[in-house]
């Protein structure tokens, strides 16, 4: 068993698997970060992902082009999140209840659309898949090669986006303005920042990335779509934002930790069959709870997170 665990091939494939599992979580968590930095808590990520996965799959299937699917999935995410945006920003109703509404509405709408188009099928429909990048010589380097040079394009996109997001929030003036909206919207408003507009942009970004994360599942990770394919990933992403302390670096580590423990538990199921799989399947969640417990992140949350805003209020 020890030979297996420490072989180069084992380690390489473990890390590969980690990145595959992490990619959708990271994209969606970044989306939620854009939301919460402007004070918009959206627990409807799972619903938006489902909608993105469905629209992405259908469009990818029709156009036979997974890229079109990804674009459509992202836009569908923006579109459905505008329901949440209008009721929470313009009508100032509760964010949690609206997020919950998305989680109920979006999967139902997805099922409806999918069955309208494909009918009730017993076999899963096979669509197109966005192939992984393969850079000849470089990707043959042990461990590092496949890890750095043999990934899905969207995986690269997710990590590049994470870096850009970190720069945006910490090093640029628009980024600081954006954060001000989540910390103290009234002060931001007096400085000439259009809070309402900013909040709409924030929910747009959240929808875009959550939709993209969903579409990744049905056009990159897999070429098939099954109802329930999102399987709670939206909630994992949501917790990754808290666990990551509303910082990009923390969020990357949080999603990587989840991806890694998930990849590890699947391998342990086969090399250590004596351990009941139920215990191993808990591992990613236990790790997340454990890390949350150790981090004491509550003080890092944007101060006006989750609060409705109105110019007239005093």
């Amino acid at each position: 068993m020890m030979d297996t665990v420490f072989s180069v091939q084992f380690l390489g494939s473990l890390l590969q698997s980690t990145l595959r599992v992490t990619t959708p979580l990271l994209l969606v968590a970044l989306g939620e970060l854009y939301g919460e930095r402007a004070g918009m808590i959206n627990i409807g990520l799972d619903g938006i992902m489902t909608f993105g996965a469905t629209v992405g799959f259908i469009v990818g299937y029709i156009t036979v082009n997974p890229l079109m699917g990804l674009v459509a999935g992202s836009l569908a995410g923006v579109l459905i999140n505008m329901i949440y945006a209008y009721s929470t920003i313009s009508l100032r109703s509760g964010q949690i209840i609206n997020g919950m509404a998305l989680n109920i509405l979006a999967p139902a709408l997805s099922v409806f659309m999918f069955r309208q188009y494909f009918g009730v099928t017993t076999k899963l429909i096979q669509g197109t898949v966005l192939a992984s990048v393969y850079i000849p010589v470089l990707s043959d380097i042990p461990i590092l090669g496949p890890l750095l040079f043999r990934q899905n394009p969207i995986t690269y996109l997710a990590f590049v986006l994470a870096i850009l997001t970190a720069i945006f929030f910490n090093k640029t003036k628009p980024g600081l303005d954006y954060r001000a909206v989540g910390e103290f919207p009234r002060a931001a408003e007096t400085l000439g920042i259009h809070v309402t507009k900013m909040k709409y942009i924030a929910t747009g970004m959240c929808g875009l990335l959550a939709g993209l994360g969903g579409a990744y599942l049905s056009t990159c990770y897999m070429g098939t779509y099954s109802e329930g394919v999102v399987a709670g990933r939206g909630f994992i992403a949501l917790s990754a934002v808290i666990f990551g302390g509303w910082r990009v670096r923390g969020l990357v580590l949080a999603t990587l930790l989840f991806g890694f423990t998930d990849a590890v538990q699947l391998r342990f199921q086969t090399i250590l069959p004596v351990i009941p799989y139920q215990i191993l399947a808990m591992l990613p969640y236990l790790a997340t709870i454990g890390a949350l417990f150790l981090m004491h992140n509550s003080g890092l949350a944007p101060k006006a997170n989750g609060l409705p805003y109105s110019r007239e209020d005093h």
């Binding site: 899963l124 898949v129 098939t224 099954s226 199921q269 086969t270 799989y277 399947a281």
Partner: protein
């Protein structure tokens, strides 16, 4: 006071309206009692289009209804807390047969069946039997044994794998049969089992398959994890020396290169059998176990990749059918 009386009025109107509707339904049934149309309903706790278990069950019901001239209906995504209410509803509506596709419905069926003696219930993979309840099941151990013998014959690495969804009784029966089947034809081969811990997470099935290839170099895969099986097949499609045995319907046309064959589970036969019993008035108080001889299980088309083992395998299948090859029911 005024508000309250308005509310009372509203409630009364609603009650009156619903009574009218129920009355109409009753009247309709009375009118065409000359030629009774039998009705069956399926209650699913997930989507009926999940591409796996519930799809196969739904299809089976539709197929059986077409053969026997029944009307169908279904409720899907029913939460556990609503099981009894949903069964009761179909009892109220006067359905002749209610189809519960899984052992998890047993308790709810028992409860609802007691109040509606004129409605019959079938529980797939169940154990409950009553005056108006039958349990029906495909022989899961035989399914596993059929898959196991083919996997054992085909494997080049002597490592075969089974991917399950969750550790439920039918799955454990299949695993038990699978292990016996592998051992029957190839005592040197080793069986690895992984669970996706979900019935809907297709991506998890893909990761599970890749992890079985990395850790054990498994080359023949049998999937019983519903949506996860689709992910497993996608993972295997990237290789040219890994194969799968499909279930519960013939999936050769979807992945012709990697599919050896399919173990087909004909739910239409299973459900049709119960429909006939209802029509003949012989329904109730038994468990029906369907295998090869009952035509509930069948072997599908063979893929090109199975050419080297096909003949030997069909001999084993015939052996199981005529009883010369036997296996144990340990679970």
């Amino acid at each position: 006071m005024k508000v309250v009386s308005k509310r009372v009025l509203a409630v009364l109107v609603i009650v009156a309206l619903s009574l009218t509707i129920i009355g109409c339904a009753g009247a309709e049934e009375g009118a065409d009692s000359g030629e009774k149309t039998y009705k069956i309903a399926m209650v699913a706790n997930a989507s009926i289009a999940d591409g796996g278990w519930n799809s196969a069950c739904y299809d089976g019901m539709i197929g059986a209804a077409e053969l026997n001239g029944w009307e169908t209906s279904y409720s899907e995504n029913v939460e556990q807390t609503d099981y009894v209410a949903t069964f009761t509803e179909y009892g109220n509506l006067g359905y002749d047969l209610v189809f519960a596709p899984g052992n998890e419905f047993s308790d709810a069926v028992k409860e609802a069946a007691a109040s509606y003696p004129d409605t019959n219930f079938i529980v797939l993979n169940g154990e409950v039997v009553e005056e108006n309840v039958e349990s029906i099941m495909a022989d899961n151990t035989m399914i596993g044994f059929l898959a196991g013998t083919l996997a054992g014959l085909k494997t080049q690495t002597n490592e075969v794998a089974l991917i399950g969804g969750m550790e439920i009784t039918p799955a454990m029966q299949s695993i038990d049969g699978f292990e016996q089947g592998v051992a029957y034809v190839n005592p040197d081969a080793n069986v690895s089992v992984a669970f996706t811990n979900s019935w809907s997470d297709a991506a998890k099935g893909k990761e599970a398959a890749l992890s079985l290839i990395d850790t054990k170099d498994c080359d023949v895969f049998f999937g019983i994890s519903s949506a996860g099986d689709a992910g497993m097949r996608e993972a295997l499609a990237d290789y040219d020396d890994r194969w799968t045995i499909a279930q519960p319907s013939d999936l050769l046309d979807q992945f012709p290169d990697i599919t050896l064959t399919s173990i087909m589970n004909d739910n239409a036969q299973l459900i049709g059998n119960s429909m006939k019993a209802v029509m003949n008035g012989e329904f109730g108080n038994k468990v029906f176990l369907g295998g090869l001889t009952e035509n509930v299980l069948a072997i599908g088309e063979f893929g090109e990749s199975a050419n080297d083992v096909k003949d030997e395998y069909m001999e084993i299948v015939e052996g199981i059918r005529d009883g010369s090859i036997t296996f144990d029911y340990n679970v």
